[in-house]
Structure formats: C-alpha cells, structure tokens
C-alpha cells in the first residue's frame, strides 16, 4: 500500500522521500511527547485504555515471560505487562523516539514500575535483539508510523520465540459507512483543533488523522503478516473497526 519500494512514501497525505519519513515522524512525536497521555484520553474519550487492556488480555502473558513493547511510548502496556510477568520475567520498552522513551521511563518510575523493565531506543525495522528472544511482542499505535512495515514485521518475527505471538493494535477502517463519515468529520475537523488547544500543535494531529487513513485496512494488514511468515493470523475489530487488534504466531 504505502510501502512501495520506490523513492517516495506517504507521510500522512504528503509524499516524501523514504529517507525523510523517520525524521518527520520523529519531529511529530518530539512535539507531542509531553502531552501524549492527556491527548490520548481526550481524543479517544478514554477508550484507548480499554483497547490496550483487551490487547493485554489477548496476549496470553504469564509469569516469567519476556515481552517486547515496540513503539511503547509512554509505557501504558509496559506497566501492565511488568506486573504480570513478575520479577522472573522482563519487559523491554522500545521506541525509536528518545523523547517518548524519556516520558515513558519517567512515568513508569514515578509509578514504581521498576526492576523488570528495560528501555531501549530501537527502530522496529532493525530490532537490536537476538533471534528467538521474546514470548510476546506488541506494537500499539506504532506500525502506521513505520517507514517499511514489511521489513518491521519480518524483524519482529525474527526476534519472536517459536510459539510466541505478535499483537498489533492499530487504527483501522470502520466497518459501517455512517461511522466512517462521523469518524472522518471528527478526525479532520475536531481532532486538529483539540491538538491546537491542548498541545499547541494542530499539524501533528492533522498528520495523525491522515496517517490513519493511509494505514492498511484490516484484511491488507492480515495478509502482510501472513506474507511476513506469521501463522494463525486473525484480527478483531474494536469500536466498530476504528481500531483493530491483529494477532499472529510464530511456529
């Protein structure tokens, strides 16, 4: 879709050079990092907490497991995984953006989530971990910002242990036309204004809305996962398809 092997790639609705996308995305997150949690609550009316909780429930996490939370941002998933894997397990919070990583690290430390959490600045396309090293990998609201999604999916498969599972929580395509229209109106008229008022940054939230529209829909992402080598791939729509949780296994 937007991962063609030519020299340009989508950055929201704009076409930019492939080499530029990473730094443009980095600028967006550098800009929103401080207000990221507040904006998430405001934009989703708090429902993002339920989407994330459902992801945890579908992860099959147990004591002693090793979990990689890619694009972990401010650490919402990491905090819950940390409690569940216990001191024998480990959670690695990875993010390409150091500002997000710093906000996440400060937040988790303030909450007392320490001991079994490691922070790594990493690019999802070239994960700096050994082969077969994680029981669970999650990437929540991060994949659409990755330049080469196919490469990132292959990189995640490499570091996943046999029997392990990847969970991708991402904005997707609403299943009902009415909801789609309402969602479009909200995304392009209200969201950037909220971004302007709360985070003093309308452009980043305009990019957010555009990047969601350019992201592969449910079936496309499913087939991308299958092509990358994941098995038993399925997905579940949440909130009418506004968000979808894709799950795939490495056997």
């Amino acid at each position: 879709m937007n991962d063609r092997k030519d020299d340009s790639i989508d950055f929201g609705y704009q076409k930019v050079a492939r080499s530029e996308k990473k730094s443009l995305v980095a600028n967006v997150f550098q800009s929103v990092a401080a207000k990221y949690d507040v904006m998430n609550d405001l934009m989703s009316f708090g429902i993002h907490r339920l989407w994330k909780r459902y992801t945890i429930d579908c992860s099959g996490v147990r004591k002693g497991m090793k979990v990689l939370d890619i694009a972990g941002g401010t650490g919402d998933l990491t905090a819950q995984f940390s409690r569940r894997v216990g001191p024998e397990g480990e959670v690695v919070l990875a993010d390409i953006n150091d500002a997000m990583l710093k906000v996440g690290r400060d937040k988790l430390r303030d909450r007392g989530v320490v001991g079994n959490v490691r922070y790594v600045q990493a690019d999802a396309e070239e994960l700096p971990f050994d082969d077969n090293s994680f029981d669970i990998i999650t990437i929540a609201f991060g994949l659409r910002n990755v330049t080469d999604k196919d490469k990132a999916l292959r990189s995640m498969l490499r570091v996943l242990k046999p029997g392990g599972r990847l969970l991708i929580l991402e904005f997707s395509k609403p299943v009902s036309a009415t909801l789609n229209q309402a969602y479009d109106f909200y995304s392009f008229n209200i969201l950037p204004k909220m971004g302007q008022v709360v985070a003093n940054d309308a452009d980043s939230y305009q990019y957010l809305a555009e990047s969601i529209r350019m992201h592969p829909d449910q079936e496309t992402l499913k087939s991308m996962m299958e092509t990358a080598g994941y098995e038993k791939v399925d997905y579940q729509n949440m909130t009418g398809g506004v968000v979808a949780l894709h799950r795939g296994y490495k056997f």
Partner: protein, 201 residues
C-alpha cells in the same frame, strides 16, 4: 461487543485487588493459589470469564482462551448453589453444571474473598480521622443490628400469617413429610417401571 464486557470486568478486578490489599493476610492466601487459573462459562453470557491468580492479586479476562486449571460451565441461577459441595453431584446429573479440572479451586477462590478481614474503621480513620471514623462505624454497627432484628421479626410475623393464621403455605414439617412421601412414590414408580419392563421382555 468485544469491549462491552471489559469495563465491568476491569472495575471488578480493580475493586477485588483493592480489597485484597487491605487485608494483611492476603499475600499468604494468594501465594497458596498463585499460578492457578479458572474459567467460568455462563450460558446466559456470550463471553467466558477467566480468573488468573498470582501473588500480587487476581486478573480477570474475557478474551483469554489459553489452558486453565478448572473450567466451570453453568447457568447464572445455579451459581449460589455452588457454595455447598453437597449440591455439585445433583447439579451435574441435572446437566446444570459441568466441571472440567479441579472442582475445589473455585471454592478456594471464593474463600479468598470470604476470609477477607478488613479493618474498615482503620481505613476510614486514614481519610476522615479517628473520631469521625469511630462514630461512623458505631452508627453502622447499631443500624445493622437494628435492621437485622427488625427483619427477623418481620420474617417470624410473615411465617405465622401464611402458615398458621391463613394456612396459605405448608409448615416446614408438613413440607418435609410431603417430600419424603414423594421420594417413596418415585421409588415405587421406578420399581414398577422396572418390573413392567422385565415382564415385557
């Protein structure tokens, strides 16, 4: 639909873990059940509920499909009857209950909360101060004892009216006698059916 059962589940889990944290004995009780997982399938609900225990508390999930130590399939109305182990065989025979795994696990899990001993006066004192907390708890204890007394009186009065005065319902003794007679009658009918079946063949 996916998210619908999630909100009450998350709230219940939070409440349960908050209560567990308020009892100093909870860590020891949790340690005994740590690692155990139990699943409840209620016919009336379109999702299953899985409870996992670890030494920090419990986790409730409506999306968990991995293996569990005990899986209970039943109906909502049957749940209160599960408190008494004497009912289990009867309910299984009546197809109202199916247990796969360790049947004692559910009772141990319920016991985790039944045995909670929370010092509510101490908890209140932390937020309101000692004197108001003591006054509130004394008021609560007196009100509860008063309500229980009145309830008991009302029950006695109602029982007198419907069984003795108006004779609308049988007394417990009459009901027990009727139950015994019914059992004897059922045994006789079964015997006759058997004899009839034997002669026919």
């Amino acid at each position: 639909m996916t998210l619908l059962p999630l909100l009450p589940t998350v709230l219940f889990e939070k409440l349960a873990n908050t209560l567990l944290k308020k009892d100093a004995q909870s860590p020891e009780r949790l340690r005994r059940l740590a690692g155990k997982r139990i699943r409840l399938k209620l016919k009336e609900l379109p999702f299953t509920t899985t409870v996992s225990v670890d030494d920090a508390g419990i986790y409730i999930s409506t999306a968990d499909s991995d293996d569990v130590d005990c899986c209970i399939s039943t109906e909502l109305g049957v749940l209160p009857e599960l408190q008494d182990t004497a009912n289990l065989t009867r309910l299984i025979k009546a197809d109202q209950l199916d247990i796969d795994g360790d049947p004692m696990l559910a009772q141990q899990l319920v016991g985790l909360f039944k045995s909670l001993d929370v010092d509510w006066e101490g908890e209140l004192a932390n937020t309101l101060g000692d004197a108001p907390a003591h006054w509130l708890m004394t008021l609560w204890r007196k009100s509860r004892s008063h309500v229980e007394k009145r309830l008991e009186e009302s029950k006695r009065w109602f029982k007198g009216v419907v069984t003795d005065e108006k004779q609308l319902l049988p007394t417990r003794e009459e009901f027990n006698e009727f139950k015994d007679n019914m059992q004897q009658l059922r045994a006789k009918v079964e015997r006759l059916q058997r004899q009839f079946g034997e002669r026919k063949s």
